[in-house]
């Protein structure tokens, strides 16, 4: 199981933002409503973690650690605040996981999106295309596209979860979409990045 506390901490390690979010959540008791929230959120958390990592075991490790961390914290919170907190924990834990990879080459290649962690699952052509798209993205781009396009968070919520500004999130989103196969065919006609079209 991935143990965040044992991860090698590289220079420039991102600050653990979910602690700040935890402070913003209301103090809630461990009651029936909270249990229902956790039960309802867990399947979507698995989806997000699977999208980030590309592997089922690794993704479930992240989700398990996130659930335990949230349950151990004093202000578990409820509803949307709890949801954002759990996604932020998974995002941070995955960054630490990637940063703690044994090989420096692996770390560099993963963050640049040059590795293919999505190579083993799923037989359908649609799945293969989707995986190749995610694998071609950097970690930051993958976080942005998963939070907004798949998990349905608003730009402000996704920016809070990722710990970046709204413009930075939109820039990551644009870069991520620039890597899609459909976009590649039209790349010759469009300049990269944001541009004025009228």
């Amino acid at each position: 199981m991935f143990i965040p506390g044992k991860a090698r901490k590289p220079a420039g390690q991102p600050k653990i933002r979910w602690l700040k979010i935890a402070e913003q959540t209301s103090q809630g008791d461990w009651d029936v409503g909270t249990r229902a929230d956790f039960d309802a959120l867990t399947p979507a958390l698995r989806r997000y973690a699977r999208g980030l990592t590309g592997g089922a075991e690794c993704a479930d490790d992240l989700v398990q650690d996130a659930l335990l961390t949230a349950l151990r914290s004093r202000g578990v919170g409820r509803g949307a605040a709890l949801q954002r907190k759990l996604y932020a924990i998974i995002t941070d834990f995955n960054r630490m996981r990637v940063a703690s990879l044994e090989s420096a080459d692996d770390f560099g290649r993963e963050t640049r999106g040059e590795v293919v962690p999505f190579g083993r699952e799923g037989p359908t052509a649609r799945a293969v295309m989707g995986r190749s798209v995610l694998a071609a993205m950097t970690l930051a781009e993958r976080e942005a596209i998963l939070l907004v396009s798949v998990e349905g968070f608003s730009y402000d919520e996704a920016a809070e979860i990722s710990g970046v500004s709204r413009p930075a999130l939109i820039a990551r989103l644009a870069k991520a979409r620039g890597r899609s196969p459909q976009h590649a065919s039209a790349a010759g006609r469009h300049a990269p990045g944001l541009r004025v079209v009228s």
Binding site: P43, D60, L67, L146, V150, L173, R177, Q182, H183, H190
Partner: protein
């Protein structure tokens, strides 16, 4: 004056971030500009493809280790260990204070 529409507006249209007057302006632009319409269509198709690829994970049965029934005993053990630690600290503190007081009393 024709409103200026950027790629950021097209992203926002795909992601449902626009509302009110701006939404109308961007929709109108997309209806008139074939390149913008194709761009929006491609991004929406990529979004739908990604959602379709990951959606089956939500319908999978949860692994036992991710159910609260499995997680709660672990938390209960942690809480019990914490209570024992507090008890031990209290006992040792009491012992030190008691012994200190006794020693001071004897020395007087």
């Amino acid at each position: 004056m024709t409103p200026v529409i950027t790629d950021a507006d097209l992203h926002a249209l795909v992601d449902g971030e626009l509302s009110g007057r701006r939404l109308g302006e961007v929709r109108q632009h997309v209806a008139q500009d074939i390149n913008a319409a194709l761009q929006v269509q491609r991004w929406a198709a990529a979004r739908d493809s990604l959602r379709a690829m990951l959606q089956p994970i939500v319908d999978e049965p949860l692994p036992l280790r991710l159910t609260l029934e499995r997680i709660e005993p672990s938390l209960a053990r942690d809480r019990e260990a914490y209570r024992r630690l507090l008890f031990a600290l209290g006992f040792v503190s009491g012992l030190v204070v008691g012994l200190g007081s006794a020693t001071l009393t004897l020395l007087r």
